[in-house]
C-alpha cells in the first residue's frame, strides 16, 4: 500500500478511507513511526466487531515490553472488521505497518473527524518536531 493516500492522526494511527456501497469505510492501523518507537511489541487488543467507536477515544491497546499504549479511533462509526491474524504476528508490523498491518475497519457514521487528520507530509513534520 502506498502511504500517499493515507491520513494520519496526532495519536499515530493511519487511516485509509474508501467508498463501498455508498458508505465510507475507514481502514485503521498504527504508523510505522509509532511501531518503531514502541518496538518490542508483545500484545495487541483488537476492538470488538460491532462496537460503536467515537473519534479520539480509545478502541484498542498495544503493549511493548516497556509500556502499554491506547489505540485511538481516528473516526466515529461502527467496527465492521478486525484483523484477527495480527495479534499473533506482531513482529510483522515492523516490516509492514500498512498493508497487512491494518487493525480494524470502521464504517464511518460521522465524518467530521476526518478534517482533523493529517496527510503524510503533515504527519512526518509532526514526528520530526516531536523528536
Amino acid at each position: 500500500m502506498s502511504t500517499d493516500n493515507l491520513l494520519f492522526a496526532k495519536t499515530h494511527e493511519w487511516v485509509k478511507v474508501e467508498e463501498s456501497d455508498g458508505a465510507k469505510i475507514a481502514t485503521v492501523g498504527i504508523s510505522a513511526h509509532a511501531i518503531e518507537a514502541l518496538n518490542d511489541l508483545v500484545y495487541l487488543e483488537l476492538p470488538e466487531v460491532g462496537k460503536e467507536v467515537t473519534a479520539g477515544e480509545s478502541f484498542g491497546e498495544i503493549e511493548s515490553v516497556k509500556a502499554v499504549s491506547d489505540i485511538y479511533a481516528p473516526v466515529t462509526g461502527e467496527v465492521i472488521a478486525a484483523n484477527t491474524a495480527l495479534p499473533d504476528n506482531l513482529d510483522s508490523l515492523h516490516e509492514d505497518a500498512y498493508d497487512n498491518g491494518w487493525i480494524a475497519k470502521i464504517k464511518i457514521t460521522d465524518d467530521s473527524a476526518l478534517g482533523d487528520l493529517m496527510d503524510l507530509a503533515g504527519y512526518e513534520k509532526m514526528c520530526a518536531e516531536e523528536a
Binding site: N39, D40, V65, A67, V68
Partner: protein, 367 residues
C-alpha cells in the same frame, strides 16, 4: 517536559551517538535502550551485555574504624568482612523501613591500606549521603567518588573472558562477591564479580576520563561474539527475571526486609540501626513479595492491583514480558495467605481482570 538539567555519565555522548534512547532516570540522562530491549536482554543471557551503571553512587570510607561504622549502618554484618570481599545489605531507618539496598566492599589500595567502598542506588545518593553524615564519627572520612569515576557492568556467560582481555592479572580466581583494585586498560580501577542480571560477570569502576576508551574496547570485543550495549530497559527485565528487588519498587521506607524476602541480609548477631524495631514487628500479617506468571498475554505492570474472589489482596511492584520465559511476569506484594505457590490471583489490567498464578522466585536461574 522537565527544565531540570540532567546529569550525564562519562559515557553519555557514546550512548547518544550510538542510538541510545536517552531518558531521565532519577535525574540522570540514561539510555533506556539502543535498538531492542528483547535483543539486548537475550545478548546478555547468551553472550555478553555492557551496561553503563555510572549513575549509581560510589562512596568511600577511610579510617581504622570505617568498617565498624558501616557495620552499624547496614543490616548485614560487615565488621568481619575480609579484604577483597563484598556483601549485600540494607540501610534501614530506626523503624525498620528500608532506606536503600547497598553493596559494601572491603578493599585494599596498592600500599595494602584498607578502605571501605559502597555502591548505593542513584536515586538514593543524596538521602544516603545525608544519613551517613548524620551518623559519621570524627575518625572516619567519607567521600563521594560518583562523578570522578565511571562504572561499567560486563554481564553474561562470556563476560569474564571479554573483561579479562583488558584487565591486568588473572581474574579467574575472583569469586562471586569478591573485588579488588586492578589495572584496566592501563588505568587504576576496581574490578568486582558482581552484577544485577542473574548472569556471571564483573563490574568495573574506572576513572571518568578513561571510561570511553575502556567502554569502546569492551564494545568492540563484545560485538564480535554477539554482545551488545544494554540500556536500562533490559537491565530491568534481566533483574526482574532474576527476582532482584529494585528500590522504589520492591523496596521502600514502608517495606521491611522480611516482607521483601531479604531475611538473609539481616544479621541478628550484630547491632544495626533499625534492629530493635525489626525484632519487635509482628511480620506474620504483613504483605510479602511473591512472583506471578500471567495465564494469558497481558503484561502486569507496577501499581496494578491483585484480586482473589473479588477481594483486593495485593499490588504489582514490577512487571514485564519475560524475554527468557516468553510470558508476562511480575513481582508483587500480597497478603501472606495468598503467597502460597500456585495460588490463583487476578490482575486488574486497565479495568479488566486477567488470571495469574503465584510462582516461586526467581523466574530465571543460570545453569
Amino acid at each position: 517536559m522537565t527544565t531540570e538539567i540532567l546529569k550525564k555519565t562519562p559515557l553519555h555522548d557514546w550512548h547518544a551517538a550510538n542510538g541510545g534512547r536517552m531518558v531521565d532516570f532519577t535525574g540522570w540522562s540514561m539510555p533506556v535502550q539502543y535498538k531492542s530491549i528483547i535483543d539486548e536482554h537475550n545478548a546478555t543471557r547468551n553472550a555478553v551485555g555492557l551496561f553503563d551503571v555510572s549513575h549509581m553512587a560510589r562512596f568511600r570510607f577511610d579510617g581504622d574504624s570505617a568498617l565498624a561504622f558501616i557495620d552499624r549502618l547496614v543490616t548485614r554484618k560487615v565488621a568481619d568482612l575480609k579484604p577483597g570481599r563484598i556483601r549485600y545489605g540494607l540501610v534501614c531507618k530506626e523503624d525498620g523501613g528500608i532506606l536503600d539496598d547497598v553493596l559494601t566492599y572491603h578493599l585494599q589500595d596498592s600500599s595494602g591500606a584498607s578502605y571501605v567502598w559502597m555502591v548505593v542506588n542513584a536515586g538514593n545518593r543524596e538521602k544516603i549521603a545525608a544519613w551517613i553524615e548524620q551518623h559519621l564519627p570524627e575518625e572516619v572520612t567519607f567521600t563521594d567518588h560518583t562523578e570522578e569515576t565511571a562504572m561499567i557492568a560486563v554481564q553474561g556467560p562470556q563476560a569474564i573472558s571479554i573483561a579479562q582481555r583488558f584487565i591486568e592479572g588473572d581474574i579467574s580466581d575472583l569469586k562471586y562477591y569478591q573485588g579488588r583494585e586492578a589495572t584496566i586498560l592501563s588505568h587504576s580501577g576496581i574490578v568486582s564479580r558482581t552484577g544485577y542480571t542473574g548472569e556471571d560477570g564483573v563490574e568495573l569502576t574506572v576513572p571518568a576520563e578513561s571510561a570511553i576508551a575502556i567502554w569502546e574496547a569492551l564494545h568492540v570485543a563484545a560485538s564480535e561474539i554477539g554482545g551488545h550495549a544494554v540500556g536500562l530497559g533490559a537491565r530491568d527485565t534481566l533483574r526482574l527475571e532474576a527476582a532482584m528487588p529494585l528500590y522504589g519498587h520492591e523496596l521502600s521506607e514502608e517495606i521491611t526486609p522480611i516482607q521483601a524476602g531479604l531475611g538473609f541480609a539481616l544479621s541478628w548477631d550484630h547491632d544495626f540501626i533499625g534492629k530493635k524495631a525489626l525484632e519487635a514487628i509482628d511480620q506474620d500479617t504483613l504483605p510479602v513479595r511473591v512472583g506471578l506468571v500471567m495465564q494469558d498475554r497481558r503484561v502486569p505492570r507496577e501499581h496494578y492491583l491483585l484480586f482473589s474472589e473479588g477481594e483486593q489482596v495485593g499490588e504489582v511492584t514490577s512487571g514485564s514480558q519475560s524475554p527468557t520465559l516468553g510470558s508476562p511476569i511480575a513481582m508483587a506484594y500480597v497478603a501472606p495467605q495468598f503467597a502460597e505457590e500456585d495460588t490463583p490471583l487476578e490482575v486488574d489490567v486497565r479495568g479488566k481482570r486477567h488470571p495469574a498464578k503465584v510462582v516461586p522466585l526467581p523466574f530465571y536461574k543460570r545453569k
